[in-house]
């Protein structure tokens, strides 16, 4: 797809650790278009965050990243480090789970929002401050002109996350990376932030990659979704297709594991065991040891391919036709 804002293909991340190499991400392909939201879903250790950090050149030093990354049409991985940094600063905004990892506690919020404008857009200090007030107002900070000189500790968690979103939007980025941005927030605050990002996206045409473990959030925000398990995509496609007709037993199980309000209190569907260690991945399908469907010896020993089941809906399986045994 030529008009992708960000496209990764064959992205692989191996991290050198004391216990030997850990394969965090293995051959991942996805892309996101302008104005669209891609949701990356998975449990901790699935590689969802690492794949995005690697794609934007933010993987830890110990990581070896291979594969291709195209940002706004240019080969991002081939760029020298300083140009990469500038391109990222200019075109990509980041919102992480804990707003305090992005905020400097000893600088006023206005200064922090203004900084990006000065650095990447060449605004004067005065113009950047005016712009900071506009942005704080845009993200719904009440009386932004008064609060521009306040410090992060004077804001609540939800308000801090709004400040971080204002920082991320300061350069009118083409791409917004949101890594579990609402996980630490209360549900009513989460609803405010989700609404805010959707609204800004509509107005500014930003492409969004939203990383989350919450399938409810995904259903509300995503156009396309990629479900990750043990470093690989096990299912991806348009959000309705994946939620309505999940083709991978892992996706089905995740959808069924969540208590549904109003459904009464029977036992929940669980997935036995825990995900494999990235140091010691099974030879075949990484989900095989926990799989409720439990395919055959082929599943155990060979890696199933990611195959199309309908249109853009892909499932990693040897048996794309077979309806899954476990359902919602």
């Amino acid at each position: 797809m030529s008009d992708a804002v960000l496209a990764v293909s064959g992205l692989t991340v191996t991290i050198g650790t004391r216990r030997g190499p850990a394969r965090a991400v293995a051959g991942v392909d996805w892309s996101v278009q302008a104005g669209q939201t891609l949701a990356l879903v998975g449990e901790s250790g699935s590689g969802k965050s690492m794949s995005v950090l690697a794609a934007t050149g933010l993987a830890p030093r110990a990581a070896r990243v291979t594969g291709s990354v195209r940002l706004l049409g240019s080969d991002f991985t081939a760029l020298p480090a300083d140009r990469r940094r500038r391109m990222r600063g200019r075109h990509v905004g980041f919102v992480f789970q804990d707003p305090m990892t992005s905020l400097n506690p000893v600088l006023s919020v206005g200064r922090q929002v203004a900084e990006a404008g000065e650095e990447h857009l060449g605004l004067t200090r005065r113009a950047a401050r005016t712009r900071a007030i506009e942005l704080l107002d845009l993200v719904g900070i009440p009386s932004a002109a008064q609060r521009v000189d306040a410090y992060p500790h004077q804001f609540s968690g939800g308000m801090r996350q709004r400040v971080v979103i204002a920082m991320a939007l300061a350069c009118e980025p083409d791409l917004l990376i949101a890594d579990e941005p609402t996980t630490a927030l209360d549900v009513t605050t989460q609803a405010q932030i989700v609404e805010l990002v959707a609204d800004l996206q509509q107005r500014l045409g930003t492409a969004v990659v939203w990383i989350t473990h919450d399938l409810g959030v995904v259903a509300g925000i995503a156009d396309t979704v990629a479900v990750m398990y043990a470093g690989r995509i096990v299912e991806q496609g348009p959000v309705e297709a994946v939620f309505d007709r999940p083709g991978h037993p892992y996706t089905s199980a995740l959808l069924a594991a969540r208590p549904e309000p109003g459904a009464g209190g029977g036992d929940l569907v669980t997935i036995a065991g825990a995900p494999p260690s990235p140091h010691d991945l099974p030879a075949g399908c990484a989900f095989w040891p926990r799989c409720p469907v439990r395919g055959d010896a082929r599943c155990e020993h060979e890696l199933p391919p990611l195959v199309p089941v309908a249109g853009a809906h892909h499932v990693r399986t040897f048996y794309p036709q077979r309806p899954d045994g476990e359902g919602r």
């Binding site: 609803a191 989700v194 609404e195 259903a219």
Partner: protein
């Protein structure tokens, strides 16, 4: 796989009350003023039931749970456990209380001693409360408890860092079971676990309750989890209970505008539903517990607030059998929210 539809409200007499809070207030003096963490909460936990307590950060739900163990001191009001008023109990007497009421915390990593083996952590309450008289008996009891929570016996010799998050939470549960308590306070027991592991722990807790006749106070911010786990539930906001009832009553007919907003904020894992959904988006943040609003505490964020909401502090009154709400316009306000 369809889940059971049975939703029978518990009908029990007051003789079966295991723990009871009466008009509890827990205030903390701080440099910024007095924080009214809990500000007039009354509740009863009945034998064999799960009472769910749901609320957002700052609602006072955890402090309420801590008060039942007297891990915080009530400013006013009373705490009764197993028929005894424990509000004024001394430190020495409290040791007996801690056997009757056990607690499971959110982060098992933080609540387990990293230098102790799993077996020794589970055995600690057995020793403190003198429940076993020999090391052989102690080992047997630890093995029983490991079996009960679905852990292999050989894990007794491991240290917490060698376990997964789900396994550590099982150890926390085994430790809570050790003293055969009358009540287990579960404070956000699944909040730090992955989704598939959350389901395992919820199933385990329900299974143990069925087999051992346990009584739970289940505290969480996750309304769907509280609904799933509870026989009765209470919704807290800014130090008060604003609504209580059965999960079915709360889900189908929320009577308090805050509950309705909370329900509408929960994302549902269905793209069609989400697309057509009209959310009640609350404005602003929860007010400071140092200086709560006059009258109804929710009125500053309530989409249906009226002038007299600032004057009258609404009492928690019955709106249907076993269903209570603290709103001057209970029911009516929620209906108006749906229309607008």
């Amino acid at each position: 796989m369809k889940r059971g539809e049975v939703q029978v409200p518990m009908q029990r007499g007051s003789a079966d009350v295991v723990a009871e809070l009466d008009d509890l207030r827990v205030w903390f003096p701080t440099s910024a003023g007095v924080v009214r963490a809990v500000d007039g909460v009354s509740l009863q936990v009945r034998r064999g039931e799960t009472l769910g307590l749901v609320g957002e950060s700052g609602s006072g739900k955890s402090t309420t749970g801590l008060a039942l163990l007297r891990l915080v001191d009530p400013t006013t009001g009373s705490v009764r456990v197993a028929g005894q008023d424990v509000t004024g109990w001394s430190r020495r007497q409290l040791r007996a209380l801690r056997r009757r009421v056990a607690m499971v915390f959110q982060d098992p990593q933080a609540s387990l001693d990293p230098r102790r083996t799993v077996g020794s952590s589970i055995a600690e309450p057995l020793i403190v409360h003198r429940l076993v008289d020999s090391s052989a008996a102690r080992r047997r009891r630890v093995e029983e408890l490991l079996d009960a929570v679905g852990l292999r016996r050989d894990l007794a010799d491991r240290h917490p860092h060698e376990l997964s998050g789900g396994q550590r939470q099982r150890v926390g549960i085994a430790r809570a079971l050790a003293g055969e308590p009358d009540l287990i306070v579960l404070d956000e027991p699944i909040a730090s676990l992955d989704l598939s592991v959350q389901a395992q722990i919820m199933n385990l807790l329900r299974g143990l309750q069925r087999d051992l006749g346990l009584t739970y106070l289940f505290i969480a911010h996750d309304l769907a989890a509280v609904e799933h786990m509870s026989d009765r539930m209470a919704v807290m906001y800014l130090g008060r209970i604003v609504e209580s009832g059965t999960p079915a009553q709360i889900w189908r007919e929320p009577a308090h505008p805050y509950t309705a907003a909370l329900l509408s904020a929960i994302p549902v894992a269905d793209p069609q539903v989400e697309r057509e959904r009209r959310r009640v988006i609350l404005s602003g943040d929860i007010p400071s517990p140092v200086d709560p609003p006059s009258g109804c505490r929710f009125r500053t964020r309530c989409p249906q607030a009226r002038p007299d909401c600032a004057e009258t502090d609404p009492a928690l009154v019955e709106v249907a059998a076993g269903h209570r709400a603290a709103c001057l316009y209970a029911g009516e306000a929620v209906r108006a929210m749906r229309v607008s």
